[in-house]
Symmetry: D2
Subunit: 373 residues, 4 copies
Amino acid sequence: MIGGGQGAFIGAVHRIAAAIDQQVELVCGAFSSNPQTSLASGEELYLPPERSYASFTEMVEKEAQLPLGERMDFVAIVTPNHVHFPAAKAALEAGFHVLSDKPATLDHAEAIELKKIVDKSGLIYGLTHNYTGYPMVKQAKHIIAKGHIGKIRKIVVEYPQGWLATKLEDSDQKQAAWRTDPKRSGAAGCIGDIGTHAENLAEYITGLEIKELAADLTAFVDGRLLDDDGNILLRFNNGAKGILHASQIAVGEENNLNIRVWGETGGLEWHQNEPNTLLVKHLEQPTQIYRTGHGYLCEAATNATRTPPAHPEGYLEAFANIYLAFSSHIKDRLNGEEKDSYDYPSINDGIRGMAFIEATVASSKNNATWTTL
Amino acid sequence: MIGGGQGAFIGAVHRIAAAIDQQVELVCGAFSSNPQTSLASGEELYLPPERSYASFTEMVEKEAQLPLGERMDFVAIVTPNHVHFPAAKAALEAGFHVLSDKPATLDHAEAIELKKIVDKSGLIYGLTHNYTGYPMVKQAKHIIAKGHIGKIRKIVVEYPQGWLATKLEDSDQKQAAWRTDPKRSGAAGCIGDIGTHAENLAEYITGLEIKELAADLTAFVDGRLLDDDGNILLRFNNGAKGILHASQIAVGEENNLNIRVWGETGGLEWHQNEPNTLLVKHLEQPTQIYRTGHGYLCEAATNATRTPPAHPEGYLEAFANIYLAFSSHIKDRLNGEEKDSYDYPSINDGIRGMAFIEATVASSKNNATWTTL
Amino acid sequence: MIGGGQGAFIGAVHRIAAAIDQQVELVCGAFSSNPQTSLASGEELYLPPERSYASFTEMVEKEAQLPLGERMDFVAIVTPNHVHFPAAKAALEAGFHVLSDKPATLDHAEAIELKKIVDKSGLIYGLTHNYTGYPMVKQAKHIIAKGHIGKIRKIVVEYPQGWLATKLEDSDQKQAAWRTDPKRSGAAGCIGDIGTHAENLAEYITGLEIKELAADLTAFVDGRLLDDDGNILLRFNNGAKGILHASQIAVGEENNLNIRVWGETGGLEWHQNEPNTLLVKHLEQPTQIYRTGHGYLCEAATNATRTPPAHPEGYLEAFANIYLAFSSHIKDRLNGEEKDSYDYPSINDGIRGMAFIEATVASSKNNATWTTL
Amino acid sequence: MIGGGQGAFIGAVHRIAAAIDQQVELVCGAFSSNPQTSLASGEELYLPPERSYASFTEMVEKEAQLPLGERMDFVAIVTPNHVHFPAAKAALEAGFHVLSDKPATLDHAEAIELKKIVDKSGLIYGLTHNYTGYPMVKQAKHIIAKGHIGKIRKIVVEYPQGWLATKLEDSDQKQAAWRTDPKRSGAAGCIGDIGTHAENLAEYITGLEIKELAADLTAFVDGRLLDDDGNILLRFNNGAKGILHASQIAVGEENNLNIRVWGETGGLEWHQNEPNTLLVKHLEQPTQIYRTGHGYLCEAATNATRTPPAHPEGYLEAFANIYLAFSSHIKDRLNGEEKDSYDYPSINDGIRGMAFIEATVASSKNNATWTTL
């Protein structure tokens, strides 16, 4: 693991997600750019001191020298955004598979470059767009793929949060600090941090691509360096239209990633906040409440669930589903049983995300002119 | 009453709204452009045949000849849009107050003209933007006016319906026919029919005005002459940003006018579908569920309710609140007790609505260029 | 109208319910046992002074002397409970149809007696168990009658309110005063006031009868003379089991009449609080959300609705449905077109309600012994 | 681990719950009464064959011979009910702490006996009444303990499920088979399996004890040997009244453990189905929506959460909270830092549960006579 030392948020999430299905074991880490913090973090995680490294370069180098079967199988990257690319590059070039937090890189050019590195390496690269790990998201994708709601016409995806409604970055809040800092977060704030999740979710569920967009980004909090709110018109490659809006200044909102999709003969609605429910709408019949865990769900949804209906699984289990699919890929390759495809986000999703960020920022600078991805 | 004969929708709604509080009595009507239909409609409504008129011109003329106290007090206009202006003009010029269905007129120029006529007449003119009649909408307006959620930053108002997802206008559906016909409906379809309600609701609740907008309208159903879907970016006169989207092709949606408003210190959320609930959000405290009928509500909300909490009042009662405020105005004037203001939409709301439609259509024709209202 | 003068609650509800469909006109009243109040109330309601009577005996006597076509068609009784019987008796014996607020009488013996009077008179008697007027309640009844959820096994009906959580009857609250007074309310408080609505709803929807019950009633508020809370086990005549609980001390609850029914192959769930939704549950398929106003509903539900889906109709419209069915019955009889049955509660419902109250009180006095209705 | 081999349900849940916080490692198991199954199960769990035992007696014996630090620290019992007591007894007598699935034993006498064994051993015993592990359940307990809703008056706790609506035990469904078998499940079916969870939840949240109850149990499915539905009146030791109903034949219900509590000045409502929300009700103020993860929650709720608001945690995390508290107790004892109390269910909860089952069954046999716990 690279990053995720004391005081971090997403590192702990990754460790739980890895632990849930008992298929992945944490064996080493470079948990912080500060060697002392890295060592202390490793101790808390019951690691032997020699496998808590002072830097990711040291880690990939030393681990590569360990015998097969003893060294780590893959690297999880859970740092602020600006480290994603160099860490992934180092790991891949040292021969390790990579599972990276999103966004894949700091900018679009890096993402293109990273894809070349991945392709060249022949190694496995995954990206934790974790919201696609939910069973009902997979069910939604299935329903659309089967044509059950007809040709898609309209998509509304939204992601309001409220935690940055005040200037939290001026306090001692580590998360707020780096996420509002262009050097560590990238060209966008809110749109990079959570807008990309919304973009990825919309494209994952519908199988469509955003063709062009018109964006109006705002930094509402005085003195903030990056956008904390964005409203975006979307046009998709099949002629569908849509809206994506995201915010981190929407007071009272928690983490409300929501999506509604309407096709010619039906509609879908899903709220991350209540993730085990999927509303399925019809032309002239009652709306149906699909729920996690039932026998009527598709295989992908069923495989992404561990318990019966209304034993609610949530964010951590959805995240674990990414780990499970990714680690299955590694395991299958080790066993010579690799399948054609695995259900976790790839470097291509990473490139789409970075293209989305760049187009959004560019459009907004041009007063919401339509901009192609 | 002008319009609202057999087979019409909104006329019956107006009659119920007028009846609920037992302050208004239907005394005459020109219910249809077909004299026979008008007469038959009047009979069903227990009117004497001599007061079911063949046309609105006949009605205003003949009623004006009746003695005071016997003739109608005001005219309710419930026709398709293209008749709103001529009917209102005729009534006002004959000396009758007017309560008109929305939109006020067929286009913006007519609305400006109508305001001049209203002003010149000195008579009372109301517009049934009925959704502002809900108690919790009034409570939302109160909370914002009192500054309880701080300066407004973001507004998301949406109005998805699904009833025009197929080409209903080709069947024998009267409502679908005129609402998708530019001659009778105006320059916009969905945006004129329901988008204006969303616009009016947002401005009513927040007290702000939309300054400019960027709109992407679509007619998804093949061969449809007017938009059946619209996605719009908004900028308000105080610097707030927003989104308005409306649709009539959102399969499975009924009549889901929803609004969310976020200010610097709080937020509000209201759904017309469950109109007696208002969510009030705070920076670091639990969200509160405000409910119709409680002692903690503002005076305007309290006055707009007839029953205790959870004796749910709905669409018809909200509509009746417009009638009640409008008829109180007339009564107070008759009694020489006119107040400074009454809580029903006026010709100014009508002008805003027509400006909104024109700006939206113009922006969309210019590929969503920002357009000033 | 008998009762319903200034300061009353249910009288105003009846007047609105009667007005909504414009089929019933208020022509006279004995609005209060105080002649001055009756007169003043009549004036507010635009009645001529000679038709605001000093007592219900005066009213039925004088109205009976008016010519047919001029005198009232029926009497609406909206007094406290102890007046229901004598008022109904007087009206029926003077030849007037009666629509009475519930419960039908003060005790079970009176109800039996009243049925005899009704039968003897040949007149029409209705009882405003208004919650059966909701479209989705009618849909629920239809689904069960059609066998769509199989033989009924379990029924949970509940009615928590919170408005009597403190000793409101000691303040100047007229409603609280008579409803907690055995002389005016009858043998039960909460169970008589709202428990009977729950009983009636369960029997109406399922078509079953409560055979026996075991009840535990409590007066939680110190010094209160009647129960303000009750928990009851139910056994139905088909072998189904159930629970009925009602409360007026459930702080924070408004008027939450809820019912769930489970049969061998499906289930139903309805909440008065959100009355336009009915959940329909199935053995191995997603739950469906039935909603008012759609084409897939049964005829009785459709007839009980005035507007399209999500133009929410509520308590007053449901109440109006009782008035509409009752007044249609009168009209049809006048026109010689009487049908076999009409969908409004009858004196038999009144008798069931009084039997329920007596059994509940008796069971509770015997420490929740099973007691037959 | 004792039990939880291939095809079991709750064993896998325990393993995930243990893994989530990375404080507990599975080191050995007697996963099945069939030695082959036990061995195969252990292999799937990456255990060395020598630590997959053929029986729990073998396991406790052999593990006790391993050196400290190498042998297991505690035993998790996840078998059908009839094995809980002998397994716990064997483990405790061999010197191992025990964490047992509920109910603690097969009957009340065993539970009393088990408490003696626990007390004598001086070892740590925990019981996985997992629903008390939810953060909002802890918040509810806190609010009541602080007196924020006043003296408790009424409690309604319910647990409808639908999975046994048909005779599933006749198919090849292992869970259905043992849970409907008196020999393996105990004297009650539904009431033992899930009624005890409801009982435990009510007592945990309120701090009250059920003093007596009147129960009506039914086996609705023909030929079923144990109750699949129960309706129970409750009286608590402080004078509060209540209702507990549970069902496994409520078609369409998943796992809907719900509780509502009303005190003199407020109320609480929690649904396991949407576990991160707690409704807090007040006498004359809007209801509040408490949500997991916020700064305004009590310490116990905060400690039971891993992620920010609306990163929904669910059933597995709540279960993990029991494991975390239990394993902290062991760790603290090992470190000589034992605290006065730990927040996980104990043998006393186990005894209450068995007393509840016995009283319920006895009451029901006596036609719902009041029966003391």
